[in-house]
Amino acid sequence: MFDQTPAGLPAAPGVGYKPQHFSDILEDAAPVGWLEIHAENYMGDGGRPLAQLRHLSERFPISVHGVGLSIGGEGPLDPDHLARLKHLVGWLNPASFSEHLAWSTHDSHFLNDLLPLPYTEKALARMADHIDQVQEVLGRQMLLENPSSYLAFAESTMSETDFLREIARRTGCGLLLDVNNVFVSATNLGYSPVGYIDDYPLDVVKEIHLGGHDEDEDDHGAPLLIDSHGRAVVDPVWALLDETLSRTGPRPLLIEWDTDVPDWSTLRAEAKRAQDALSKVTA
């Protein structure tokens, strides 16, 4: 179905790469199994970011994680951005490419956040068309990540899990299951996170994300969790990971820590905890 068949990510822990960890990673005798980068940070013409990425890619499988394609946008995909992505994926030949069930651009204004969409037939058809286009341009399968939700759309006609299952069925894309996002959304919208996993098409999950969140309250004093990626993963999310892995078997696991980035040893300790979770399940 696709021209390129990359080897894929190993069923091991990886971390979101931060330039301040470059030397620590290279000096670490047993660092992590793989690294994930945000595509948009490596779309300059040259300089240190690309030099570091070339260097790291010789030693680690790399996952390219896009945050700016706006696949869930009402408008067409930005052809310039798609071309930049094709260039990056072309020279790097990463083990995986993933993006989000979200939109971030409208009328060529980029809002730098992952914004929500209603789960309707119309949104599904548009999203599937966009994913078809991405996979055709990149010549490979992409993974689609479930969002963190703070609100719901009254017009939605299907559940998020049904929406994702149907997108994967129509486009052949894989799914990136972010269990922190599941926990955040389930808490915020009042459903069971394990029930979500029950309904989720786990057979097409090719990667799992973990990250930290902040706690707030809504107008009624109900808990409102914010997907901040600025702290350690909390115990209930580790428990949800165990529950998920018991059904999927080992999968590539990623620790995301994007704000208040800690030192390498703290991040590596989180990756070690992910390794422990993987060790408890068998393929």
Partner: protein, 249 residues
């Protein structure tokens, strides 16, 4: 129906009501849950600006910077998902901020920071063999055309813009003296640095970048121009990528 146009407009304008059709998942209006997105957008764009303009943030203080950034990001949301490019119009925006009018050098400091960022992400280059220059006689030198690295940028300011930048960003740098400064940004490997040019240096380098011959660039720089100092800067930062002799008269 809650279209993305409505959703987007209210994101950037807190005076707009929360769009309809959004709930808390239990049928109640979303209320401040929508503000999470408002906050994410404003904070992430303000942080991107602060990352891109650290000297401006230091000069006016973080509180003032956030206030200015909040106005800028609403007036000029990014036109591209590449945050490394965000803030191209920030210097011009600063010129319009009346409470900052007494800090007349701010827009030029912002231009310098933007040029440093562009240089940081510019294409890599290979230096031309410096021995070529040593072997040239005067006529050949005057007739040649020098190609400079894509990371090279020239700036002119009525303010001591490089000295202000260095005083804030490089501990131990001397206090800026009131004077205009011309500068060239050079990136030997990965870290661009601004360098103050001798008088005529900006004219000289802009002529080279335009593709003028070395002799024409010298003429543009005027008499008393210290060409040796500028060549040393270029060679010391491996900034000359090619020397062409074709089309010479």
């Amino acid at each position: 129906m809650t279209g993305q146009a409505t959703f987007r407009t209210a994101l950037l304008d807190a005076s707009q009501p929360t769009p309809g059709g959004l709930t808390d998942g239990q049928g109640r209006p979303a209320g401040r849950r929508y503000d999470v997105y408002r906050n994410n957008v404003a904070v992430s764009l303000a942080e991107a600006l602060e990352t891109g303009f650290p000297t401006i943030a230091k000069l006016i203080g973080p509180g003032n910077f956030r206030a200015v950034a909040a106005r800028f990001l609403r007036a000029s949301p990014p036109s591209s998902p590449l945050m490394m490019r965000y803030g191209a119009g920030f210097a011009e925006f600063l010129e319009t901020v009346k409470p900052l009018a007494h800090l007349g050098y701010l827009p030029d400091v912002a231009r310098l920071e933007l040029a440093l960022r562009r240089s940081f992400h510019a294409a890599d280059h290979t230096q031309a063999d410096p021995a070529i220059l040593q072997d040239l006689d005067d006529d050949a030198l005057m007739a040649c055309r020098m190609r400079l690295a894509p990371s090279v940028a020239v700036l002119r300011s009525a303010w001591p813009v490089v000295s202000i930048w260095a005083f804030n960003m490089r501990p131990g740098s001397p206090k800026p003296q009131a004077r205009p400064e011309e500068a060239v940004i050079l990136r030997a490997e990965f870290d661009p640095e601004p360098n103050v040019l001798p008088m005529g240096g900006a004219d000289f380098l802009e002529a080279l970048i335009r593709g003028d011959s070395f002799g024409s660039a010298m003429a543009a720089a005027g008499e008393d121009f210290d060409v040796g100092a500028v060549l040393s800067l270029l060679l010391g930062h491996r900034a000359i990528t090619g020397i062409d002799f074709e089309d010479t008269p």
